[in-house]
Amino acid sequence: ADCGTAGPITIAEMTWLSAGTLAHVAQKIMSAGYGCDAQLIPGDTVPTATSMLSKDQPDVAPELWVSTAQSIWDEMQAKGNVYKASDIFASGGEEGWWVPDYVAAEHPEIKSIEDLKANWAVFADASNPEKGRLYGCPPGWGCEPITNNLFKALGLEETWELFPSGSGETLKASIAKAVSRKEPFIGYYWGPTDVIGKYHMVRMETPPFDAENYKCLVDINCADPKVSGWAKGEVAVAVVTSLKERAPDVATFLGKMQVPNNDISAVLAWGDDNGATTDEVATYFLKNYEAIWTQWVPADVADKVRASL
């Protein structure tokens, strides 16, 4: 199998560890295995998605959280210039409200998001002791309306403060701070990520998924939100449609690209513990998890990749 195109194939590299790792994995396979001129383009979710929609660039986004860029995604589907080659995580992305394990252990009475209303006092913050603090979703992300609507649907407005997390980094830093001091914390997060593993976060139980309610939850202007569980997170290997023609073999490979949640979590935890670069984590993955990635490509390609390590 060969690349099919002499031109560059661009891969979106996003800032967080798993996205960066997967971008490097894809790049290594494309260049070593298929002989492509695979280039990484750094960028965040929204700018990347925007550009894929309007400019067909970059060609591949190996870990695109659909809900984060929902409206852009919808437009892409309507326009048809980007398609989902595969779900990158075998069990999908897990979204929800999480607490550190020590909170779960200390407060067995708080199991589900429906228990929060009564137990706000556990999560009160010094700056506003009259209310519990729930760390919300960063602005503009797809999770923002869901979190905000759930907040309303659960009737938390009286006793809780929905604290805006200005960015993904802030949210992560908030967790790090709380856990390092064993302070109570509850907030939105998602997996698989290094955060969930590293800080031993436990996901709050939710009522079952209800398609009808959920439809309203994702709408910013939802008038009367009702409780529902989170939909299984859609995390796509997003590929520009034209790549199918330019590099059919590569497109086939991308169609198979998928990792089990547990394995990727373990890889990420290794990377985080060792302070490894995304490039190193990718190499680590390729070396130690052959069983997974060799299924994505023909044997000859796998050999070439193996040889390049």
Binding site: S127, G140, A173, K177, R181
Partner: protein, 290 residues
């Protein structure tokens, strides 16, 4: 091929040491630090509440009155009133009030801390040669580098936002206080010395009053820099106009980001006009006619 720099010593080990050390600090002193800054947080929240509670026309009147007091010119007062009204018109009033609160508190703190440092610098060459490089680093170090450490120390919210804003915005007050005092006509200072004034008398009766236009220019610059931090500060929970910009750009609503951005521009122009016309008037009164 890339001819990168050879790895001469183990940067990673150093990095890990820094990270571990910092995490230790977060765990050990975070709570104390947070408690120390609680009063300031309360002040900030109270200010924000009051500003948002005041009817909009009161705010406009107050700002216009301030502009008139500073400039003694009706034209400027009117312009300020119109611009404040425009902030409401483009639909960002509440966010703008939160931003004003943060900015005013940040500027106040910067002045309270920066003025004495500037004075100390102006009095000692040594102090100046130590402080200047620190200020240089403070101004060139990307904010993002210290933004997240602040969050880890204080949790997200207004306090780290405030601190990051102050770190970023304080250098002009310090620099220009120093410059202003050093720039006071040495003959005037010599005259007061010749009449037997003590250093403290010289500072209070001559140097600070005469350096005031320059110091005010520094405060003005500090305010502008604080404003330019608004979006970044809102990434760690400062709220206000910055948050609206973030929301707008993430949702690809150019217009919503633009409106909030316009709000910031208007605020900047309003404060700049007030501060500058005050500074100009002072400078004039020191130089030529009364």
């Amino acid at each position: 091929m890339a001819q990168g720099f050879p790895e001469i010593f183990d940067v990673r080990a150093l990095g890990r040491a820094i990270d571990t050390g910092f995490n230790q600090i977060v765990a050990d002193y975070g709570a104390t630090l947070e408690a120390i800054f609680l009063p300031i947080l309360k002040l900030l929240l109270a200010m924000e509440k009051i500003l948002q509670w005041l009817p909009w026309w009161v705010v406009i009147l107050v700002l216009a009155a301030l502009a008139y007091a500073a400039s003694r010119r009706w034209g400027i007062a009117l312009a300020v009133a119109v611009m404040t009204f425009a902030i409401g018109l483009i639909g960002v009033w509440d966010a703008a009030m939160a931003t004003i609160a943060l900015m005013v508190v940040a500027t106040l703190l910067a002045v309270v801390v920066g003025l004495p440092i500037g004075v100390a610098m102006s009095r000692s060459k040594r102090m100046q040669s130590i402080t200047l490089p620190v200020l240089d680093v403070m101004q060139t170090m990307p904010i993002f580098v210290y933004l997240i450490p602040f969050v880890m120390l204080f949790g997200p919210g207004k306090i780290p936002a405030l601190l990051a804003t102050i770190v970023f915005a304080i250098p002009p007050v310090i620099r220009l206080t120093n410059l202003g005092i050093r720039g006071v006509d040495p003959e005037i200072v010599e005259a007061t010395r010749a009449f037997g004034a003590s250093p403290a008398q010289i500072l209070l009766s001559v140097q600070i009053p005469l350096a005031l236009p320059t110091i005010l220019a520094g405060i003005n610059q500090t305010t502008m820099m604080a404003l330019s931090m608004v979006v970044i500060a809102s990434m760690i929970g400062a709220g206000g106009l910055g948050y609206q910009v973030l929301q707008g750009i993430q949702r690809l609503q150019i217009s919503s980001g633009l409106m909030a951005g316009l709000g910031i521009v208007l605020l900047a122009i309003i404060f700049d006009r007030i501060a500058q016309s005050y500074g100009k008037r002072m400078q004039k009164s020191l130089k030529l006619d009364h």
